[in-house]
Symmetry: C2
């Protein structure tokens, strides 16, 4: 049995926030106890905000390349400039969509930059979030903080939503991992008839992320932390790097 529930009552997250403390407090107030083995799934947005990964578009001077791509896609040139800075290369673009290879290795739209749910704290400024600088480190940091404050060994996933090349709609995926092996290797397993299995590696972290995403919804500010309890996984330090396909093994890039 797997149980998935959101941790209610988290406050608005601001730069410098201690997410472990806020989650521990919210658990205490709502009578939720984290248990050993729980996977704590956290929306990228609040991690970015806690880490101050927020930029005002007004402070961004677009390069010539950004101006060109902005014109071709109808996007804000300052936003495109940030996408270029966050990416190692632009893979595809069409109309309002720019698909990049993020510096962190992910292939994603708009370099994970988002301007929804960023509080407009500064009058006259349009704020956007960038992905955390090192989402695995963010996940480890939160996991360590929860261990200290709640006394249990959890796993932590940082979540974003990614589109897929061949399927419509986005799904929750892990962009940062701590405490679990993101891939479940079934190499060498044989089924009951003695045949080797066709799919030998499952992306367990992404399946857990997708499951948690069901409750996060898209107004992720309201339910940015979701607990997945009872999902089978292999404990490990883990890293999202294991989920990223190397360019050389990629048949479509």
């Amino acid at each position: 049995m797997i149980e998935i529930f959101a941790i209610p009552g988290l406050p608005e997250i601001r730069a410098g926030a201690d997410l472990a403390a806020l989650i521990a407090d919210a658990c205490a107030r709502s009578d939720v106890s984290l248990r050993a083995g729980d996977v704590v799934a956290v929306a990228q947005k609040i991690v970015s905000k806690a880490e101050g990964r927020v930029v005002a578009l007004e402070d961004v001077a677009p390069s010539a390349e950004a101006l060109r791509l902005a014109e071709q896609t109808g996007k804000d040139a300052r936003l495109v400039e940030l996408m270029l800075r966050e990416s190692s290369r632009v893979l595809r673009w069409r109309e309002a969509t720019i698909i990049v290879e993020h510096r962190l290795g992910f292939v994603c739209a708009n370099a994970g930059i988002d301007r929804s749910n960023v509080p407009q704290e500064v009058p006259g400024k349009t704020l956007v979030t960038l992905l955390p600088a090192d989402p695995d480190r963010s996940a480890r940091h939160l996991r360590d903080g929860l261990r200290r404050r709640v006394g249990v060994e959890t796993a932590v996933l940082i979540l974003d939503s990614h589109g897929r090349p061949f399927r419509e709609g986005a799904v929750g995926v892990a962009i940062g991992v701590a405490g679990l092996h993101p891939l479940t290797r079934m190499a060498g397993w044989v089924d009951r008839y003695g045949y080797a299995l066709r799919s030998t590696v499952m992306a367990t972290a992404d399946e857990i992320a997708a499951a948690a995403s069901l409750l996060m919804g898209q107004t992720s500010e309201s339910r940015p932390v979701v607990v997945v309890r009872g999902a089978p996984y292999q404990p490990s330090e883990g890293s999202v790097g294991e989920l990223i396909r190397e360019r050389s093994k990629d048949l479509f890039r």
Copy 2:
């Protein structure tokens, strides 16, 4: 709160099996009650077997094209022949992997053909499963059967595992849908700060499929039916067609 659990005690599925009856019986024996709104996620493999979508490789004569591609990939030419028959075109191949566009529209490895867990009922024959001929119809049929036998309105997903171009590991996805809208459209929604959301369409059916897949594991014969209870979705007749990106909108094919 979402709860996910497997229905235990299903028998080996053979051609002609009435899956709705077998699931209803297994529920009754194990004291599991399906409830209105439950999503019943079923492994493609048992649907294919119930529908007799099983082929003996010994009965397949490979074409010249299949022989050529088999040599290039090191695969069984008879298996490659079936892949070609099941596909509208081969998109990519490398070593042991052939990525096709299935006649049903999915981009997937090996045309969804699988030889794990197919009982070797016929001595000297190597049996493989093909995808159901019309997985939406299979899903509708099962949903109707469950309504008749258990008296509740469920949604049904037929699941397969697909790799992703840019990420390692496979994840559970829906290849047949009945009773829910596979996409949750958030177009027009604005967040609390008045900004339109970046990701406006979530692939809810695929997120539910991934969640269910966590419990199915890969030896899908043992836990081929998993119930997802409490996942938010929009009731609808639904069709997996909504999840398939048209080739013209695809930036990577």
